[in-house]
């Protein structure tokens, strides 16, 4: 159970530059392919859709010519104080491994969906149906990611299996698996981002780009005032984007900048 901020020596995190993101959705597709998310049976049914990483559209709601939009990819934010964890009655989800990734063990989940109710970012998804892959497509499944049956909750794990393989590689090469270099471990969405808007690394390691970026005055976290302390930072030089990121009201000013 985690009710307090958990500290780790390594904290994997992302900084997503919303001024670079074009909303192309390559990250969503990469995530879907990497993590064995079955294509939807009925894609028009939004309630049943599965997208561990979702790209939202933000708008400044001004009339032309001042109209402006931004696109915001949202994986699981791997909160420092995850709301989803203390509510789980069977400890299917926890934040207890070095790296600070909020785990989800699908085989253990009983599908009560408390975690979905608790997550303020809608980062969790429930399997309403058993996954069905079109014939032949099962050959493209990633062997290192379990497929989830009907009745369990799933979410983004920062492609945890890639973390495990990066550690293995380091071990075999005689390096310390707890001191990975930048680029040793990269989730699929970050690897696939064509504009380089997503940067991934260890937030605690000054040698990693994310460390510096996350400390920028232009960096913010989603709904910062909820105090969930996500390990995903967003970055934008546009003030209205930062304001929307924390649901600021018209008359409020953004702290810090």
């Amino acid at each position: 159970m985690v009710l307090y901020l958990k500290e780790f020596k390594i904290k994997w995190g992302m900084v997503i530059d919303l001024d670079r993101c074009t909303g192309c959705g390559a990250c969503m597709v990469a995530c879907q392919a990497e993590n064995n998310i079955a294509p939807p049976v009925d894609a028009s049914n939004k309630r049943y859709s599965m997208t561990w990483l979702l790209v939202y559209q933000l708008s400044n709601k001004q009339p032309y010519p001042n109209h402006d939009v931004a696109y915001m990819p949202r994986p699981c934010l791997q909160c420092g104080k995850p709301n989803c964890v203390p509510v789980c009655p069977v400890i299917a989800t926890d934040k207890n491994q070095e790296g600070g990734i909020v785990s989800q063990v699908n085989a253990r989940c009983i599908g009560c969906r408390y975690c979905m109710a608790a997550c303020p970012y809608h980062a969790r998804y429930f399997n309403w149906q058993d996954p069905v892959w079109p014939e032949g497509m099962e050959k493209t499944l990633t062997p290192d990611v379990s497929t989830r049956p009907r009745g369990v909750v799933e979410k983004c794990l920062f492609c945890h299996h890639r973390y495990m393989y990066a550690r293995d590689k380091a071990r075999i090469e005689g390096r310390d698996p707890n001191a990975l270099n930048e680029g040793d471990y990269i989730p699929a969405c970050v690897e696939m981002c064509p504009t380089g808007a997503m940067v991934f690394g260890d937030l605690q390691n000054p040698e990693h780009k994310v460390h510096k970026l996350s400390k920028s005055p232009y960096a913010f976290r989603l709904l910062e005032r909820l105090n969930t302390k996500p390990q995903v930072y967003y970055y934008s030089k546009r003030e209205w984007v930062r304001k929307q990121g924390d649901n600021y009201l018209e008359h409020e000013t953004v702290g810090g900048v």
Binding site: Q97, E98, S146, H160, R171, I172
Partner: protein, 196 residues
């Protein structure tokens, strides 16, 4: 007097069937169920680890090696065996069978693996390679044996009987790692360490 005696015999008459039933139930549970649950399979070929190690001075990772990315190549394939056995070296029928039935026809030997992990488990050999597979209690000690053990397959799940149980993993991850957190950093008992 008569009443006492009567009471005595009836008590014995009640206990005995219970005892018999109890023993029968135990026998069924301990002996019968495993017979029903597991089917026995034998390996496609006879293989002796002992000869390879003792007579020819080979070591485990001559055949069971790691790839450069840290993944474990597991059982040797035909090409590996054929480095020595591309033609029969002796006159053992299984050696001739290997060459004629498998190697020359290009069919990989369908070895039975006692220890495949269940589908929801992520297991890395690279992380565990400093431990002795047999003494750490992960694998049956085939390294020093002359024959391969019988393979028991669970008729319902199709898993091998010797598939590692979670309690075997936890024996180290929960207890040892908790005692020496520094040495076993990265080997906590966190679910996602092993589950995928």
């Amino acid at each position: 007097m008569m009443e006492e005696k009567k009471g005595g015999t009836s008590a014995g008459g009640v206990v005995l069937p219970f005892l018999l039933g109890f023993v029968a139930a135990l026998a069924f549970g301990w002996w019968g169920v495993p017979q029903l649950l597991f089917s026995k399979k034998t390996q496609p070929l006879v293989f002796t680890h002992q000869n390879h190690i003792e007579l020819y001075g080979m070591s485990c990772d001559d055949c069971h090696s790691f790839r450069r990315d840290g993944s474990f190549s597991g059982l040797p394939d035909n090409a590996k065996c054929a480095e020595c056995h591309s033609f029969p070296m002796g006159d053992h029928p299984d050696e001739i069978k290997f060459v004629e039935e498998y190697y020359e026809k290009g069919i990989e030997v369908p070895w039975l693996v006692y220890q495949y992990q269940p589908d929801n488990v992520f297991f890395s050999h690279a992380a565990h390679r400093e431990y002795d597979c047999a003494t750490a209690g992960c694998h049956p000690d085939v390294g020093s044996s002359n024959e391969l053990p019988v393979y028991y397959e669970n008729r319902l799940t199709k898993y091998s009987r010797d598939t590692m149980k979670m309690k075997d993993c936890e024996r180290c991850h929960a207890t040892v790692a908790a005692q020496e957190p520094e040495r076993f950093a990265g080997a906590p008992n966190a679910c996602q360490t092993c589950h995928k």
